[in-house]
Amino acid sequence: MINKIFASPAEAVEDIFDGAVVMISGFGEAGSPIELIHALIDQGAKDLTVISNNTGSGHVGLAALIAHRRVAKMICSFPRTANSKVFPELYKNGEIELELVPQGTLAERIRSGGAGIPAFYTPTSVGTPLAEGKETREFNGKTYVMQHALEADFSLVKCKAADRYGNLIYNKTARNFGPIMCTAAKTTIVQAKQIVGLGDIDPETVVTPGIFVNKVVEVANPAEESKLVAEDRRYPW
């Protein structure tokens, strides 16, 4: 029988190994799987390469993972946001590596990783410092830069509801990178606000088909990152 449901975030993340490439969904706090990230902090894996649009806020979630020196390299489009303090400090001290990728290129590289496309051409970043050292090529008189797919060992994703097959739906703009990250990892681990029965999600409205998901854990009341940051909470507490 197919049952992808795990009892706790701790059990869901226990296989993540030192040196793993980990994709983490979210755009700012929307869609960030904070309970899975905290379980990963507890679990202890280090030397991680993390692919996520931002670098977290305050001292919780992704920012806490970075603060605990578990992340050797960040691949992201926007590493500094309003309450982002941890990453900037480590970066200035040369203690964390950064690969900066334009947001749409980041999305397309992840989508390609999931779709078995090793590389593609894009007009984005041509003529800018982010295209330096990259192969360019003309198609129909316009210049494009070649970009390689991104794949991960694990993806950590937050969603609204899941069933035991791993079919997922999301909530509003918390969808963002979740669906493509689910496709691009060897093991996709999802925290869902609710686990529902098979067939409870209309087959026409499934956003992530279960085939892309390996583990699901229910987190009925996920923490709100911005509230934790406002209270200056630090994980672990």
């Binding site: 197919i2 989508r111 779709a115």
Partner: protein, 219 residues
């Protein structure tokens, strides 16, 4: 080549049953059109298998009851099917993300020819007046999906289908994992073709006589 003679070996149903035994619980499986479709009928009870059809459905169920057919709910062979609870629909680019991105576990296909290196030819006889039509076959074999071929061991006229080199246009190079014929189950390995199981009353030599490629026995 061997002429007409008494029928030996497994029936089509038994071939499908043998392939079905190699589909583990929890597998995501794409079944080609024709003989491969039979495999679904033989998956052992207690195994939950999810069927993918490349025209946009994961969780394909059995043929609908008469009168309940929906021409907008079909499989890749354009026959009416059903959807199980937990199924989902998606568009073609997402469907082939599942294929090309190696998310499907197993694909069962028919064959015109299979080479000893696991090359597969199953889309064209290369006849000059034939209209070429490839569908999704080349995509299905391009990734790291396990490819099971289910096929009669020889053609209707007794020609071997398991050959040293395919003479028909290829679907993919070095792609087949296991061949289920009426005579034997044959694994394609780095060291050549190995017979895993012989049909009752069939000997190794009997199979080799009907096979152009060299066969090996597990020691």
């Amino acid at each position: 080549m061997v002429g007409n003679e008494e029928k030996k070996g497994w029936s089509i149903g038994e071939m499908a049953q043998k392939a079905a035994l190699d589909i583990l619980d929890g597998s995501y499986v794409n079944l080609g059109i024709g003989m491969p479709e039979l495999v679904a009928d033989y998956v052992p009870e207690g195994r939950e298998v999810i069927y993918h059809t490349e025209n946009g459905l994961l969780g394909m169920g059995p043929v609908p009851e008469p009168g309940k057919e929906d021409p907008e709910l079909i499989n890749a062979g354009k026959k009416c099917v059903t959807a199980i609870p937990g199924a989902c629909f998606f568009h073609h680019a997402d469907s082939f993300t599942m294929i090309r991105g190696n998310h499907i576990d197993i694909c069962v296909l028919g064959a015109l020819q299979i080479s000893e290196e696991g090359d597969l030819a199953n889309w064209s006889t290369g006849a000059p007046d034939a209209i070429p039509a490839v569908g999704g076959a080349m995509d299905l074999v391009a990734g790291d999906i396990k490819i099971y071929v289910i096929s009669r061991h020889t053609t209707k006229t007794g020609e071997p289908k398991i050959v040293r080199e395919c003479t028909y246009p290829l679907t993919g190079k070095n792609v087949v994992n296991t061949i289920y014929t009426d005579l034997a189950i044959i694994d394609v390995t780095d060291k050549g073709l190995f017979i895993r199981e012989l049909a009752p009353g069939v000997t190794f030599d009997y199979v080799q006589e009907r096979t152009e490629a060299k066969l090996n026995q597990y020691s």
